[in-house]
């Protein structure tokens, strides 16, 4: 994506997607994130992480480790009021090569009565960055959150 902020309206939009799904059968919280690669690299650079050339031939050896480190800094979950650590399951480039899909998982979650999501990914980079986060904890309905610089955290209650 070309940069043309302020001068040219290039339909450059600052958006990420995150879907959080509670898999009842596997007792796991499974997350899928879509992040634009250029924004992601810039945001990581801001945290002092060198350019990783994610999803290219030049991708650095420990790129996934660095990405995971960045995610842990800016994307956090609390399940039933307890901070949880997710695992890095994998990543793949999106078919237009502009973005990356990231898969994360929290194992051994036997029930979800409350979920707090803090999604500050890329928010420091662009003032208009928005992280659209959807959450599905069966049997509840899918909830959509628009998280941005002004409100980057939200708590959901599933207590019966």
């Amino acid at each position: 994506m070309a940069y043309g902020e302020g001068i040219v309206p290039t339909h450059e939009f600052h958006l990420s997607r995150c879907h959080i799904n509670y898999n009842v059968a596997e007792e796991a919280l499974q997350m899928t994130l879509h992040l634009f690669l250029d924004d992601l690299e810039d945001a990581m650079l801001r945290e002092g992480i060198d350019i990783q050339f994610l999803c290219t031939e030049k991708e650095k050896e420990d790129a996934e480790k660095q990405l995971y480190r960045y995610l842990q800094m800016h994307f956090q979950l609390r399940v039933n009021q307890q901070a949880v650590t997710y695992e890095f399951v994998g990543k793949e480039v999106s078919d237009d090569l502009l973005g990356v899909w990231v898969y994360l998982e929290v194992k051994e979650v036997d029930q979800v009565s409350a979920l707090t999501i803090s999604n500050r990914l890329i928010l420091d980079l662009h003032a208009d960055q928005r992280n659209i986060t959807s959450v599905l904890v069966p049997p509840g309905k899918q909830t959509y959150l628009i998280l941005d610089r002004y409100k980057s955290q939200e708590s959901l209650n599933y207590a019966q």
Partner: protein
């Protein structure tokens, strides 16, 4: 905390009315430059024709039936503004119903092009596993765009009303002024594609 519908409605509304992506706004301004405030019903119909146009290409793009390179669309959108502006100033002051009907056809056709632009945005919003909700997402997003458009044209007609009523601006002069301004912005956008 929101539902899918209200979230996509909001995203559609904010996408069209985002001042940083003002090319769609300029197009709408040009589209209603030849209308007087009392013709608001026709403008509403015109904007709806535009919505039908962009809904169609948006749908085709989201279903992956067609795909458009962003650079081509960014070239085409200012051309739709220029064409509308030139059409406006080439019209006689008193237009018959036949000429009016052409406007709807233009709006529909240019809607196809703008829909391609919206599709790149909406594609970034869609997630695997949500395919079952695609229609609702599209409906809410398009409705949001339509509401945003109505707000934009309402502002233009309001300004036209003020210009006619308070400043005694003539309708033909208003049309030339607004169309000229829109054409100027479109030219700037076109030139920026090469720099």
């Amino acid at each position: 905390m929101d539902s899918l519908f209200t979230t996509y409605l909001q995203l559609g509304f904010e996408h069209i009315s985002d001042p940083k992506a003002y090319d769609h706004i300029v197009f709408l301004v040009a589209l209603c430059a030849i209308y007087r405030p009392q013709e608001w019903k026709r403008v509403l119909l015109l904007v709806t024709a535009f919505t039908i146009g962009h809904s169609l290409t948006l749908l085709l793009a989201v279903l992956d039936i067609i795909r458009f390179p962003g650079s081509v669309i960014e070239l085409l959108i200012p051309i739709t503004i220029l064409a509308t502006a030139f059409y406006n100033v080439s019209q006689p002051a008193e237009r018959g119903p036949q000429a009016m009907r052409w406007n709807y056809a233009f709006a529909l056709f240019f809607g196809f092009i703008h829909g391609m632009g919206f599709s790149n945005y909406l594609r970034a919003l869609l997630m695997p596993g949500e395919e079952g909700q695609l229609w609702l997402q599209l409906l809410a997003f398009n409705l949001g765009i339509e509401l945003g458009q109505i707000m934009i044209v309402a502002c233009v007609l309001l300004l036209a009303g003020l210009a006619f009523g308070l400043l005694r601006v003539k309708a033909a002069a208003w049309n030339q002024f607004v169309s000229g301004a829109a054409a100027g912005i479109a030219l700037t956008l076109l030139l920026q594609q090469w720099t």
